[in-house]
C-alpha cells in the first residue's frame, strides 16, 4: 500500500482521482469519522497498487483529528491497516517553502518517498522555476513535476509506482543528508521547527528555486472579496445563493423523486399479492427508503456549491470574513462552513467541522450545528404552518404570517445556537483566547472531476448513514402498528403496541397540550424528524399523507390547540430528533458524553419552549 500525503490545497485529491479514477472507496477509520479514501491504481502491465489518500495536514503534531489519523496511518497504528510501503508527498510548488515544512517529518518515516511538485504549470506561468534534479539529489528522493489538473506528469508518477512494484527500492539506499538536521534527541518544539525551516531554506536554495511572482488574479480578487464594503456584500450574496439553491432549485428534483417513489410504490403494490408483507414492503420499506432519497437532491446541490466555493479558494475568504462575528459568540471563522451545511443536514455538517484545529472550538461548533434548521424539519414546519397559521399579510404584500412564522423558526434556531455557543464557551469549553489562522490558497478554477467524485462520495455516505437508521425505524414502526393482532388482522392504532407507547408517555406531554397521537409522532420522530408526518398520517388513517395533505391538516386543526401547535413547532426547532446526528456525534467525540449532553439539553430546551408557547398562545 502506498500513502498520499500533503498539505491542504496542494492538489492531493486531484492527483488521487487522476491515479485511481473510479476505482476508489470511502470508509471511516475505526473509531473516528475521518474519511479513509482508498483506491486502486492500475499499472499498464495489469498490476494493481493500492493507494490511500490521507487528509491534508501541515504537520504531525496530532493537534487535530486529521493530523492524528495521518500520523497513525503512517506509523501503521490503524487497526486492520498495514503501514504503507511507500509515500507520495505532494506539494503546491508555487508555495514551495511553506509546503516543504512537511518534508522533514515525512522523510523521517524512512520509507521510499516520491516528492511530487504539483501545479508546475502555474509556477511557470508566474515566472518561477525549480531544478528538479538538484532537489532530488539534495533530498535523496525521486522528484516529479506534475499538474494534476491537466494530467501533466502523472505518467511519471505511474512509472514510479511501477518501479516500486518491481521491487526497485534503490531510493532507500541513498544516504540522506537530512539526518544531520533531525537528530534523534528531542529538541524543544520551537528549535525543532527552526531547524526544519533552516533545512527547507537550504534545500530550496540548493534546488535553485525561483519563487513565482505573486498571483495577480489572487491579488485582484482579494482586493474585491476582502474589501470593506464589497467583501461582506458578496459574502451575503453567496450565502443567499446557497440558500436559494437548497430551497428552490433542488425542489423540482425532490418533487420528481417523490413522484417516482410514490408511483413505483403503487406498481409494486399492484404486482404483489394482497398478503401481510405487501404493506411491509410498500408502506414500510419502500416509503422509508423514499423518505431518505428525497433529501438527496438538496444535499447534492448544497455540496456542489460548497465544493465549488472551497476548491476555488473563496471559502477560505468567507471564513475570514465570518471570523469576527463568529468570534464574538465564541466560535471561529472555520465554523461558518459546517453551520451553513447544517441548513441542509447536520450529519455532513458535523463532519465538515473536522477542519477546525482548536478542539474546544470544534466541540462548540458541532454541539450547536443541529440548531440550524435542517431540511428534515421543513415537512413538519410546512404541515403545521399550513394547518394553523392564517395566510394573512404582515408586511404588506412582501410577507404573510406563514412565511413570517417560518422565518421566525429559522431565527429561533440561530438564537439558540448563539446562546448555546456563548454558554458553552463560558462553562464547559472555557478557554483562554484561541487563535484563528487561515491559509488563503490562490484562486483556482475547480477541477470538475474532483468535484464530481466528491459528490458521489457524499451521496454514498449520506444514503448509507441516514438510510440505515430510517430504514430500520420504518420497519420497527410498521411492526408496532401490526401487533397485537386482533382477529387475524392489524389492530386499531390505539390498541396497537404503538398506541400503547403513546398512552404511556401521554402524562409527560400533556402539559404541552399534546395527546397520545402527537406523543407517538414525537417518539417516532426521535429517529428522524420528518417521520412524524407519515406517522400522523398512519395514526389518523389519512392515506397519502404528506405536507400538502389537506385531510391531515383538517384533522390536526381539530385535535390540536393553536398554542400546542406552535409549541410543537418550537419543540421541533430545538429538540435533537435525529439518530443519525447522535451517531455521528458519538463517533466525532469518541464517546457518549457529548451526544448525551446535547440530546438532553436540546430535549429540555424543546420541552420548555413548547410548554411556554402553549401557555402564551
Amino acid at each position: 500500500m502506498i500513502a498520499l500525503v500533503g498539505p491542504p490545497n496542494s492538489g492531493k485529491t486531484t492527483l488521487f482521482n487522476r491515479l485511481t479514477g473510479l476505482r476508489q472507496k470511502v470508509a471511516n477509520y475505526p473509531g473516528v469519522t475521518v474519511e479513509k479514501h482508498l483506491g486502486m491504481v492500475n499499472l499498464d502491465d495489469g498490476r494493481q497498487v493500492s493507494l490511500v489518500d490521507l487528509p491534508g495536514v501541515h504537520g504531525f503534531s496530532a493537534r487535530t483529528l486529521d493530523e492524528r489519523v495521518t500520523r497513525d496511518v503512517l506509523e501503521g497504528k490503524i487497526e486492520g491497516m498495514r503501514s504503507p510501503d511507500a509515500l507520495i508527498l505532494i506539494v503546491d510548488v508555487t508555495r514551495l517553502e511553506a509546503q516543504l515544512m512537511l518534508v522533514e517529518p515525512v522523510l523521517d518515516m524512512d520509507l521510499p518517498t516520491l516528492l511530487v511538485l504539483n501545479m508546475v504549470d502555474e509556477l511557470e506561468a508566474r515566472g518561477g522555476s525549480i531544478d528538479q534534479e538538484a532537489l532530488a539529489e539534495r533530498l535523496g528522493v525521486d522528484v516529479v513535476r506534475t499538474s494534476a489538473r491537466t494530467g501533466r506528469g502523472v505518467e511519471e508518477v505511474l512509472a514510479y509506482l511501477r518501479d516500486l512494484a518491481d521491487g526497485d527500492t534503490s531510493v532507500e539506499n541513498i544516504e540522506r543528508e537530512l539526518s544531520n538536521f533531525a537528530g534523534s534527541q528531542p529538541l524543544p518544539v520551537i528549535d525543532a521547527f527552526a531547524a526544519r525551516r533552516r533545512l527547507v531554506r537550504s534545500v530550496v536554495q540548493d534546488a535553485g528555486f525561483a519563487s513565482p511572482r505573486p498571483s495577480r488574479l489572487t491579488e485582484r480578487l482579494d482586493s474585491v472579496f476582502l474589501h470593506k464594503v464589497w467583501g461582506p456584500t458578496i459574502f451575503l450574496a453567496v450565502v443567499l445563493l446557497v440558500f436559494q439553491s437548497i430551497f428552490t432549485w433542488a425542489v423540482p428534483l425532490m418533487d420528481g423523486i417523490d413522484w417516482m417513489v410514490g408511483t413505483s410504490g403503487d406498481w409494486i403494490a399492484a404486482a404483489l399479492p394482497d398478503t401481510w408483507y405487501r404493506s411491509l414492503i410498500v408502506d414500510g420499506v419502500w416509503a422509508g427508503v423514499g423518505s431518505v432519497i428525497i433529501f438527496l437532491p438538496q444535499i447534492l446541490v448544497l455540496f456542489l456549491f460548497l465544493g465549488i466555493l472551497e476548491d476555488s479558494g473563496y471559502m477560505a475568504r468567507a471564513a475570514v470574513i465570518a471570523d469576527r462575528t463568529m468570534y464574538r459568540v465564541g466560535l471561529q471563522g472555520r465554523a461558518f462552513l459546517p453551520l451553513l451545511s447544517g441548513y441542509a443536514c447536520a450529519v455532513p455538517a458535523i463532519l465538515a467541522a473536522r477542519t477546525i484545529e482548536d478542539e474546544r472550538d470544534r466541540l462548540a461548533t458541532i454541539f450547536v450545528t443541529p440548531f440550524m434548521t435542517c431540511s428534515a424539519r421543513l415537512p413538519v414546519y410546512a404541515i403545521l404552518i399550513a394547518a394553523f397559521i392564517p395566510n394573512k399579510p404582515v408586511l404588506g404584500p412582501i410577507m404573510n404570517q406563514q412565511a413570517a412564522t417560518l422565518l421566525g423558526l429559522y431565527g429561533l434556531g440561530v438564537v439558540a445556537a448563539i446562546g448555546t455557543a456563548f454558554l458553552l464557551k463560558r462553562t464547559l469549553l472555557k478557554a483562554s483566547p484561541t487563535s484563528f489562522l487561515m491559509e488563503l490558497p490562490p484562486y483556482r478554477i475547480p477541477d470538475p472531476r474532483t468535484l464530481l467524485l466528491r459528490l458521489l462520495d457524499r451521496s454514498k455516505i449520506f444514503l448509507r448513514r441516514a438510510g440505515r437508521i430510517i430504514f430500520a425505524v420504518t420497519i420497527v414502526l410498521w411492526v408496532l402498528t401490526q401487533f397485537p393482532r386482533t382477529e387475524g388482522g392489524p389492530p386499531d392504532i390505539e390498541q396497537s403496541a404503538l398506541g400503547t407507547i403513546g398512552h404511556v408517555i401521554e402524562p409527560v406531554i400533556e402539559p404541552l397540550g399534546f395527546d397520545w397521537r402527537i406523543g407517538i409522532g414525537i417518539v417516532t420522530s426521535l429517529a428522524a424528524r420528518e417521520v412524524i408526518v407519515g406517522t400522523l398520517g398512519t395514526i389518523y388513517g389519512v392515506e397519502e399523507a404528506d405536507e400538502e395533505s389537506f385531510a391531515l391538516q383538517e384533522i390536526l386543526r381539530r385535535d390540536l390547540e393553536p398554542g400546542a401547535a406552535i409549541g410543537l413547532l418550537v419543540f421541533f426547532a430545538f429538540a435533537l430528533q435525529c439518530m443519525s446526528t447522535v451517531a455521528v456525534m458519538r463517533r466525532e467525540t469518541a464517546g457518549w458524553k457529548w451526544p448525551a449532553l446535547q440530546f438532553f439539553y436540546m430535549l429540555l430546551l424543546g420541552y420548555l419552549g413548547a410548554f411556554i408557547s402553549f401557555r402564551i398562545f
Binding site: 511553506a98 521547527f193 527547507v200 474589501h227 471570523d323 491559509e439 488563503l440
Partner: protein, 94 residues
C-alpha cells in the same frame, strides 16, 4: 556588531505585526504566544527570522499577510502578539 542599547531593544520589542503598514516587509523577531497557539504558526513556516508582509486587511480589520509566498489570515489579536522589526536594506538577515 554592537549589542542594542536598552532603549533600542525596547523599541524593537515594541513593534508588533499589527502596527505594520500595508506592503511593509518586516522580519519576525519573536512570538509572544503560548505554545499551543504558536504551533499552527510554526507549522506554516511563521518562525523567528522569517519575512512577513501585510498585504490586505479583512473587512473586520484583521490582517492578511504574505509569508514564503503563502497568504495567511490572522486575527489582529494574534498579529499583536508577533514582535517584528523593520528590514532595512543594509541589514542582511536570514
Amino acid at each position: 556588531m554592537q549589542l542594542p542599547t536598552v532603549a533600542e531593544k525596547a523599541h524593537i520589542e515594541d513593534l508588533r505585526l499589527g502596527d505594520v503598514p500595508m506592503q511593509q516587509e518586516v522580519e519576525l523577531v519573536s512570538i509572544d504566544l503560548p505554545m499551543e497557539l504558536a504551533e499552527p504558526l510554526l507549522e506554516r513556516g511563521v518562525l523567528p527570522g522569517c519575512r512577513i508582509c501585510p498585504v490586505q486587511s479583512s473587512p473586520g480589520g484583521d490582517p492578511v499577510v504574505s509569508v514564503d509566498g503563502s497568504l495567511l489570515a490572522l486575527r489582529r489579536e494574534t498579529a499583536d502578539c508577533l514582535c517584528v522589526r523593520l528590514v532595512s536594506s543594509f541589514q542582511d538577515v536570514g
